[in-house]
């Protein structure tokens, strides 16, 4: 029994699909073979039924085309007023998607799925509006004719002779939750047409009559029936997968569609699509860009781009390979991706050329044994220049400077021909000198040398010219009969032929080598650009830095002004606060950016969404989370949408996204750490307050209550002693509270420094007079060198630092011992030191001293809360200085702080 296990990837994909579906609205398509089969009628009937079931039904757009029966069905259903768009002097009525999203019905009817919106609408196509409605969780009823299906568009065009530009990607049809086929036999349709019940646009009467031939209608009906049947098949397959019916499990097909820059490409893509759909297979469209193909004119390369975009719309993955050897690249790709079916055009080289140079198909057939190859022939090769309107943008914008380049190329080429002639003449002159001394075969070598030289320097054309001229001269000068082009000995014909072949082969080789070098250097440049950006990004510490680096690199790589936008706290995209440098884009459209941010899809110029916007907007995301939006104002769209460029841009965006995410993560981690730190501090603060505030309070309350006690036996001396105790403890408490308040003020960040120029002497003087009571029996030595500059500081704060340091010194040094305040001028700072003769600092604890609530002796009588030094550090930090502690060699501790001298202190002119 064949018990192959379901592919986990596939299962996962299906689960994801189901989940996405449950959130999304449901799409129901009323599908018909042609206009007039009654799709709108059927849709309205269904809507009325829903209405009877009390479901909130809204009519977004319904075209009744003046038919009474249809109009009657509108009765009693709410209709959304259309949006009026003034366009070239007329007023267009369009579906109002914003109103619909705002109104949020359960079901909305939007007729004519293939409709193209008026310019300046949000999306160029109605099916995109519908996607947005579905995304918003609204069910949609819509109608579609078979000829508007993208993959059938071409075929039907060929059958009916009428091509419609309004197409709907097959994916929309395939992803519809329900498709209801509205079928009407051709005879009945023709009858209705005769009765005038079918709406026909006036201007195209004749074409339409041609369209409604019975043969056409039969073919269209068959196509629509087959399409519906395919869908049912697919659903059944899905159902089977759902229910894990093992027998039908098979290795899933992967189809590779190879396209080239020719008219066949579009048909190949459509054929690939049909094959993929019928096999329910994954399909990849690949374009191998060989060096020769890179030299194609811009219009042709744009054509390829257009086809690749079409393929994407049809649901294919598109890949562009850059390789000089097309067949090898394809075989390698097939192996890497497990391709088992290839769709490719029939070889264009025929006859002897195919036999001589081989064809990609032949190589594929001989190398890929387990791959089925489908060949597609072209009935007639015709160039198609009638691009649909929304894709013409690639046509109009060739690279700037292109014309100059071709001009330069032309000059070079003509130079090459000149050189070819000159070299041949030179070879002939050399030959003339050697003639008679050497064998004729050696003279041929001289000419060959010339051909090789020309081939290496000037390419194919000149080298062929050199070969031909060389043959001519050789024949004319050295082959009997002399001075005539006739050849008496037929063996020289072989010599001549060999010369020609060698010339061509060498020039071809050289050209390949050169273009490979060019491709390699392009690639290297791209890799280098990417490397340099990611290297710079890896060193960034802030989002701002990331943005600046990204904007700079994006500009240099894509020569496009650009700006990166991030949302505010509420998910609204806002302008960056700081204005970037000159390469950043101003005037990005925030509404477009918002749409991109909300939908994680690219929008703006050259895309399917809001193509009217001036810039292109890309989501920047990391692991499926959109972080921001890049707005890029391209000088030239091709620089962005060429496959290799787009891939590069994607990689750039990925790198930027990663960098932003990395910084956000580390910020998050930091804030978590800060929260923990705050928590720790709160705990220390609580314990400090509970101990250090309660102790003095206990004394105060105790002493005071003893004094006020009725009939107390206290004598005046006792009362005085108690009073002194109260005063001391109250002062201690006051200090503590001041410290806590100072710390809070310093840490809140709202503190503004009032920096002015102060003589250090004055600050020290103030401090000493403030502390003068405590310093009464302590000698203080002040050592200030002459000419110490004024300091630029907030004097109150520096006074606070000195007060805290002195109080600390008083606390930890014996009574009567000397204190010393000194200052020194260093190169770029003033250094102030407060030293004592106390117990010194426990070794290894020098840095910890400045932590909040740090005390060398816990809960000791010599108490402070352990805030004094932390306050000093905070103050010195905001002044841009440093503070540290050390033990003095002669005993005692020394606390040193520095203040930077950033500018020369002011002076006054000496008085006369």
């Amino acid at each position: 029994m064949n018990m192959e296990r379901p592919d986990p990837d596939q299962l996962l994909a299906r689960v994801e699909r189901d989940q996405a579906k449950s959130k999304r609205g449901r799409l129901k398509i009323f599908f018909g073979a042609a206009a007039g089969v009654g799709k709108t009628f059927a849709m309205l009937l269904a809507a009325r039924e829903r209405r009877h079931e009390n479901i909130d039904v809204l009519i977004g757009v319904v075209e009744t085309h003046g038919r009474k029966e249809t109009a009657a069905l509108l009765d009693g259903l709410e209709t959304l007023p259309p949006r009026e768009i003034a366009y070239k002097g007329t007023v267009l009525h369009e579906f109002d998607i914003d109103a619909a999203l705002k109104r949020r019905p359960a079901i909305i009817l939007v007729d004519e799925l293939a409709h193209s919106n008026a310019p300046s609408s949000r999306h160029p196509k109605r099916w995109q509006d519908i996607q947005e409605l579905l995304d918003a969780g609204i069910d949609v009823y819509t109608a579609l004719n078979v000829q508007h299906l993208e993959s059938l568009n071409d075929d039907i065009g060929q059958i009916s002779g009428i091509r419609v530009w309004e197409t709907v990607p097959d994916t929309v049809f395939e992803e519809a939750d329900e498709v209801e086929l509205v079928d009407l036999p051709p005879d009945e349709l023709l009858l209705r047409l005769k009765e005038g019940k079918v709406y026909l646009p006036q201007q195209a009467q004749e074409a339409v009559n041609h369209f409604f031939r019975k043969g056409n209608l039969i073919a269209l009906r068959e196509l629509s029936l087959r399409q519906t049947a395919n869908r049912v098949d697919a659903q059944m397959l899905d159902y089977r997968e759902d229910n894990a019916i093992q027998e039908v499990w098979q290795v899933s097909d992967r189809i590779l569609v190879c396209i080239g820059p020719n008219a066949l490409a579009e048909r190949l893509v459509r054929a690939g699509k049909r094959l993929a759909a019928s096999l329910h297979a994954e399909w990849i469209v690949v374009y191998v860009e060989t060096p020769e193909l890179q030299r194609l004119p811009a219009v042709k390369r744009d054509g390829i781009l257009r086809i690749l975009r079409l393929a994407e719309q049809l649901g294919a993955e598109t890949v562009t390979l850059s390789d000089p050897a097309m067949s090898e690249a394809l075989i390698r790709f097939c192996r890497e991706r497990n391709i088992n079916k290839i769709v490719i055009g029939k070889p264009s080289r025929r006859g002897w050329r195919r036999w001589l140079m081989g064809s990609v198909v032949d190589v594929l057939i001989s190398h890929a044994h387990n791959i089925n190859i489908y060949l597609l022939g072209s009935p007639q090769l015709r160039e198609r220049n009638d691009l649909p309107p929304d894709l013409t943008l690639f046509k109009k914008s060739p690279l700037p400077g292109l014309n100059q380049r071709t001009l330069a190329k032309n000059q070079k080429r003509f130079g090459g021909y000149f050189w070819a002639t000159a070299v041949t003449l030179l070879s002939s002159a050399v030959g003339q000198l050697m003639f008679g001394h050497l064998e004729l075969a050696n003279l041929v070598m001289v000419y060959l040398l010339g051909v090789v030289f020309v081939a290496t320097r000037f390419g194919r054309g000149p080298s062929i010219l050199a070969s031909v001229l060389g043959i001519g001269f050789f024949d004319f000068l050295f082959v009997l009969p002399y001075y005539s082009f006739s050849v008496s000995d037929s063996q020289y014909l072989i010599t001549l032929l060999a010369m020609l072949v060698v010339g061509i082969v060498i020039s071809n080789l050289m050209i390949n080598v050169r273009s490979q070098a060019k491709v390699a250097s392009h690639r290297e440049r791209r890799a280098a650009a990417l490397y340099s950006m990611s290297k710079e990004l890896s060193n960034t510490q802030s989002e701002e830095e990331v943005v600046n680096i990204a904007v700079k690199h994006l500009y240099s790589e894509f020569t496009s002004l650009n700006v990166i936008l991030f949302p505010d706290g509420y998910g609204h995209i806002i302008y960056p606060k700081q204005h970037g440098d000159k390469v950043s884009l101003r005037g990005a459209d925030l509404s477009v950016a918002q749409w991109v941010f909300d939908h994680n899809e690219i929008a703006g110029q050259g895309t399917n969404t809001l193509p009217g916007a001036e810039a292109v907007y890309f989501p920047i995301y990391n692991e499926d989370k959109v972080l921001g939006v890049l707005a890029l104002l391209p000088v030239n769209l091709r620089r962005i949408f060429l496959p290799e460029q787009q891939k590069l841009l994607d990689t750039f965006l990925g790198q930027i996204g990663q960098a932003v995410a990395r910084i956000r993560f580390s910020e998050q981690a930091r804030s978590t750490q800060m929260q923990m730190e705050a928590e720790r501090l709160r705990n220390s603060l609580l314990s400090a307050i509970s101990h250090d505030l309660r102790t003095p309070l206990a004394t105060i309350i105790g002493s005071a209550s003893a004094i006020v006690q009725e009939n107390s036996q206290l004598n005046p001396t006792d009362i005085l002693a108690l009073g002194h105790g109260i005063v001391d403890e109250a002062e201690r408490m006051s200090n503590l509270i001041n410290n806590i308040l100072d710390m809070a003020r310093l840490e809140s960040g709202v503190l503004e420094l009032n920096k002015q120029w102060y003589p250090l002497e004055e600050i020290i003087g103030t401090v000493l007079s403030t502390l003068h009571k405590k310093l009464i029996d302590r000698p203080v030595k002040v050592k200030l060198p002459n000419g110490i500059p004024m300091i630029w500081a907030d004097s109150l704060m520096i006074e606070q630092v000195l007060i805290n340091l002195l109080e600390n010194a008083l606390r930890y040094s014996p009574l009567g011992s000397e204190l010393e305040i000194s200052a020194e001028i260093d190169l770029s700072c003033v250094q102030v030191s407060v030293a004592d003769r106390g117990i010194g600092i426990p070794t290894g604890k020098e840095a910890q001293l400045f932590e909040k609530f740090y005390q060398t002796h816990h809960e000791s009588a010599q108490s402070g809360v352990g805030l004094g030094l932390a306050i000093c550090k905070a103050i010195i930090d905001v002044h841009g200085g440093k503070i540290y502690a050390r033990n003095r060699t002669e005993g005692g501790a020394e606390f040193i702080f520095t203040l930077p001298v950033e500018q020369a202190p002011p002076t006054v002119n000496p008085e006369e």
């Binding site: 002497e761 004055e762 103030t766 007079s769």
Partner: protein, 232 residues
């Protein structure tokens, strides 16, 4: 209570501080009247003609600075302000409006008493009215008539600006002068922003007049506000 007892009006909204001031000042021989709002306070000052006013800057009904301005428009009564710790700017405004001295809460009673005595003495012998006097404080002798300054009876040579600066301080001896006030007096109104001029000259003056310029006994700094010439 003797009739000559100095009269002090306390404008303060906190009842326990009022009680503390009333009790302690009364025992020191002052006649104390207390009010809890600025408006009442202004009326009281007008009616009682006190010798001294103690004013809390943080009153609920009026800005303390406005009270000082109002009172200063018709009275030269010495005003001692009580202020919380962090409002330096308000203190400076109060001095510019004409306050004489200040105390930061919390303060000790001894300190208050000392300030009151200095303020009263100053108001009783205003120096401005006796230009011809020789002013002496500590070891400093300032002779305005002969423009001679002596320390420990040694004549000290001062530059014109140093002399002008000292004269402004002497005129307001014992009183806190803000940087602005001094700058305006010595250099004129256009130099108001150049506080560092004042600091440099003050430093020079200390070098000449003080034994230890880092521990001045006469030319005291009122941190963040200005200077004061101590009266011994």
């Amino acid at each position: 209570m003797a009739k000559t007892d100095p009269v002090i009006i306390v404008i303060e909204d906190d009842p326990s501080i009022r009680r503390f001031l009333h009790t302690s000042l009364s025992t020191q021989g002052f006649k104390v009247f207390e009010v809890d709002t600025g408006k009442k306070g202004i009326v009281e000052v007008g009616v009682r003609k006190p010798d001294l006013l103690i004013l809390d800057l943080g009153l609920p009904d009026m800005d303390g600075v406005d009270i000082i301005k109002t009172i200063r428009s018709w009275s030269t009564v010495p005003i001692i302000i009580l202020s919380a710790r962090s409002d330096e700017q308000q203190k400076i405004h109060a001095f510019d409006a004409g306050a004489d001295d200040y105390l930061t809460k919390p303060f000790g009673f001894g300190e208050l008493l000392a300030r009151i005595r200095v303020a009263l003495r100053h108001s009783m012998r205003p120096y401005e009215q006796s230009q011809t006097d020789i002013f002496i404080t500590g070891n400093l002798k300032f002779d305005a008539v002969n423009r001679v300054v002596c320390v420990d009876n040694q004549e000290v040579h001062l530059t014109p600006i140093q002399y002008r600066l000292l004269m402004v301080l002497v005129k307001n001896a014992g009183k806190v002068l803000t940087h602005q006030q001094i700058l305006k007096e010595v250099w004129g109104p256009s130099f108001k922003e150049n506080a560092h001029y004042l600091r440099i000259y003050m430093s020079q003056l200390r070098q000449k007049l003080e034994a230890d310029p880092a521990q001045p006994k006469l030319l005291l700094t009122e941190s963040g506000i200005g200077y004061r010439l101590k009266v011994w």
